[in-house]
Structures are given as C-alpha cells and as structure tokens.
Symmetry: C2
Subunit: 315 residues, 2 copies
C-alpha cells in the first residue's frame, strides 16, 4: 500500500524537507502529484486556488497547514463538513507587520514622506514639513492576536500608550485597557492612532466606516494592515478628503492590485503600500517552527498544538 | 542703577517669561534691546549671528544659553577669552532625532520609500520592493551623548543590537560595547547600520570618509543626523554610486540648503531630509526645563548645573 502524502504546495529548502521526513517517516513528502497520487494526500502545506476542487473532491485530506495568517480565502465550511483540520501561519509575519506599522507612523510624524516627495523635485523645504512626536501618543490596536501583541511590545518601547480592541473586550497582557469591538467608534474618539489588524470574517466586513472615522480626532491617523474589506474604502476616502482624520496608511485593499483608476492613488494624506507589510526575511525557518511542531503532534496523536483555526469563527 | 538684562533672542510664552522673572527678580527680561541697554545684557538666551558683534563688544555678557545641541556656530574662543559661560540645548531634540532615525531605517527596510515613489505614478509593485528586518541588526551609534543614549533605548526595544563609539571608548550604559573613535573604520566593518551623531569639531571633520565606507558591508546603511561636515560628502556619493554600501540617509549637509545642482538629489539609494530631525513638539517646555534649572543655580551661586559646554572641546 502507498504511503499517505504530505503535499507541499510551496518549495522548501532541503534541510526542512529532511526534517519533515524524519518526524513523519510513514509519510511520503511530495511537491508534485501524479494523477493517481491525489487520493493519498492527507496533509497539505499551503493552499492554492487551482488545486482546491481536486483536493476537496478526490483526496483523503485531513489537515491543511496554511502559510498565511488570514484564512478567509479557504473553503472553511467545506473543511468543517469533511472534518478537515486547518492551522494558519499566524505569528510568522508579526515582527514584519509591526515594523511596517511603526515605519508608516514615523514616515508621517517625522515628515519623511514629504521629504521623499520633495527630493524627487530637488526641493529643500523645512517650513512645509509636518512634524509630530510618536512617543506619548494614544494608540488603539483593533485585533489583539499575534500581530497586535507584537506591535504592542514594540510600540511601548517607543513610549506609546497602547489600548486594544477584541471581540469581547477580554484583557490581554501588554495593553493598558482592552474594549469590546462593539464600542469601536466610541473608543476611537480618544485615540491619536487607530490600527486595524482584523481577520476577514462576516463580523469585520466594513467595520471601519464613516461612523468610526467621524468619531475620530481631526489630527488622528488610521492604519490598516488586516484584511482589506474590513475598511469601507469609499467612506475612508471621503473622511480623508474632508479631513475628518489627518492621515491614513493602507497596506491592504478591497480590490488588489489597487486599480489604476482608484481615487485613492491621488489622495495627498494617504500612504499606499502594495500588501507588503507581511513580507518577512527568514520565512521558511519561521514557518517551520509552527508546522514541524504541529506535525510531531499530529503524527503522535492526531492533534494540532499550534495555530489551529476555529472553522466557524474563521480565525 | 539699571537691572542686568536677560536677553531672550527667541520669543517664549508668557508663562515662561513669568517663571524667569520669579526666579530672577533682580533681572530685567527683554526680547528687544534699546541702544543704551546693550551694556546691561548679562545673559543671552539663544544666539543670532546678526547680534554677535554687538554682544561680544558692548555688553556685559556672562552666560549664553544656546537653544541648539551643536554650538560650533558660536565664537567659542572669544567666550573662553572673556570667561563667558555657554550651555547648550542638548537633550531637547533627543526624542525627535531618535524617532527620525528609526523612521528613516524602517522607510528603507520596509520598502516604504519605494512605495511612496510608486504611488506618485500609480504603480502597484510588490516584486520590486526591497524588504528586510530591523530587529536583530547590529547598529553602531557614533556619538554616545544625550541623543545617542535615547536612540539606544528606543532601538533596543525594537530588538536591535546597539554598539557605541565615543572619543576614548569609555563604557556607556545601554550599549553592548563601546569603542574609541580611532577604531571607527574597523568597527564599522561588522555593522549593518552606522549612525553619525557627532558634534562639529576639528576632530570630527570628514570623519565619515571613503576609508570608513569601504570597510562597511555592501548591504549596510549609513545615517547622519550629527553635523554635516562630519561626512565627506563627495566620498559618500561615490560609495553610494559604486554600491559599496546599500543605502544612506542624510538630514544634515556640508552646505545647507543643499544646492539644487548637488549630485546627491538624484542618488536612488540616498534619502535626503532637510535638517528636520531635531524639530520637536513642545519645544518651549523642553527647553525651559534646562534653562530654568540653570538660571536658579546661576542666580544662587553663579554656576550652571545642566549642559555646560567645555569651550575648548566644543561640546
């Protein structure tokens, strides 16, 4: 009888493939599948759209280890029906996203964005530079998961007062105070900075909307590095044009790539980055610390110990 | 007899003028001088070029409290000859400069600078983005004074390994190791980032030169927020063009404003900011914590307790 297959939908370095084989000697590790191997696939590392139907309908899939933190692009209800486990890559990108957010904030607060634009036209302009101080600011992290926690640690070291929002308002260490998501607009009122790090679920769809923006201070900053559709893009654009808030930075969008005819491109007080905040050096090693730990446990007793997704909740 | 004058060469809020008057009731506080008042000036707050000769030759000046951290633009040897005390504003700008340096680093490491340039032409480009991780980097701060210490605190919170250089290599708390300036080129060899925060003195003139740059790693970053002429600009430009180092950011220049025909403007791997790193919110309050402390002590026993400059040394 053929061995069950661990199907790597992404290429990994030899050292890691060797480790997988050591931990799971009764499995075959494959990066390519012959047609007659499909029904032997038990574990998939990564998830590609074009393989979805094949795997769902013809394999013996029991566990998918996603590479990303967000899993809203996977067929969660199908997984639930078939009893397929799902774990995500949450934590891998935390440090990168955290550094990205701080970089974005300081680009704005220290006038670096303006200076870059001025350099392009060889313009030396001190007086037009907007400057402010990050230290001492009140900042709200909406989403107190892996990334939110890492961001909080980094920001506190820079003298920022960090507050958090999660589903129920349950306390999380490292946050001065945490509030329930239903109070978002009210809590946003007192904040200098609001950072969205929400997963894509029905509950988070367009949660950052005109109601929230109109509650924010006119000198406040909004940043989104979570899911693109957690922001009501049109209403954010209006808030920026009418200067209800001073500045925003988006790394994720409702439609990606951002269409060339989007009005966002030309907003002076919006920084656009092309979904790069999660790009991280040493990715394979970071990913394998999660996957290999899960694999060990899965082989031993069929359970996952790290980053298992609650399929109904969606994260 | 007329009261001696505290001459404010910069306007301060009424609350601070009142405090000055409370601490020094036997002095007159003036922001403008009548001709016959010049010889009564004993203390000058701030130092403007256009008043220099008048004050040096016709006043009874005993103490100048500078607003800036660097004091190389003041007539130090004249002060020494006449026994005039000088104190500087070191410390006021530390937090701002520290945030500026971190902002500059993350602008580069997280590809934010590239994204800003792409946004101007509505270009969505993920694959061309250079990204790296600040956390874990080895960083050398050249100049372990007020600013260097603050920068070290902020950077350590972000996971950076911080080394220092000062005149003699004397240890400074918060630095993993400190070295003497005479070993600059050798120490720079092992660093991912070198940050210059040196005062302008004969000893620091053109200290960042081709010798240093040629020792640095090809993926290293150089930042200068100290004095412009501590950098040999022409040799830095060559190092950048030949990619001896990967990236540089200059906030200060040998000639300011940077002339429009300078070759620096067009260097792709150089970020130019127009001497803004020290711009700081709440400046008056920060400055007054230094000046009022000194004033109290000066009125009591003629001594300064904060930021007195050693005139021969120049800082």
């Amino acid at each position: 009888m053929q061995k069950p297959i661990i199907y790597l939908q992404k290429a990994f370095r030899k050292e890691f493939v060797t480790k997988i084989q050591e931990i799971a000697p009764n499995y075959q590790v494959s990066t390519e599948l012959a047609d007659d191997e499909l029904n032997n696939v038990e574990i998939s590392v990564g998830w590609k759209q074009e393989k979805e139907l094949q795997l769902l309908n013809h394999s013996n899939l029991k566990w998918v280890q996603a590479v990303s933190a967000g899993v809203d692009y996977l067929p969660l209800s199908e997984f639930e029906k078939k009893g397929i486990f799902l774990s995500n890559g949450s934590g891998i990108h935390s440090l990168s996203i955290s550094e990205h957010v701080i970089g974005t904030l300081l680009t704005y607060y220290r006038g670096i964005g303006q200076a870059i634009k001025n350099q392009a036209v060889k313009k030396w302009d001190q007086t037009g530079i907007h400057y402010d101080q990050l230290s001492g600011k009140n900042l709200l992290i909406v989403g107190t998961g892996h990334i939110g926690k890492q961001l909080s640690v980094s920001l506190r070291g820079l003298g920022v007062n960090v507050y958090g929002i999660n589903t129920t308002g349950h306390p999380v260490s490292g946050f001065i105070e945490t509030y329930s998501i239903k109070n978002l607009a009210k809590i946003a009122e007192g904040m200098d900075i609001v950072v969205g790090i929400l997963p894509g679920t029905e509950a988070t769809y367009h949660i950052f909307n005109s109601d929230v923006f109109s509650h924010m201070k006119p000198d406040a900053v909004f940043i989104n590095v979570g899911r693109g559709d957690s922001v009501h893009t049109k209403e954010l654009a209006t808030a920026l044009k009418e200067q209800q808030i001073a500045f925003a930075a988006l790394d994720v969008f409702e439609e990606e790539p951002l269409p060339v005819d989007s009005e966002l491109w030309e907003l002076e007080n919006l920084l656009i980055t092309p979904h790069i905040s999660g790009m991280t050096v040493d990715f394979q090693r970071k990913f394998m610390t999660i996957f290999l730990k899960n694999l060990k446990s899965y082989v031993a007793d069929g359970k996952l110990v790290e980053n298992q997704v609650e399929l109904r909740r969606g994260y």
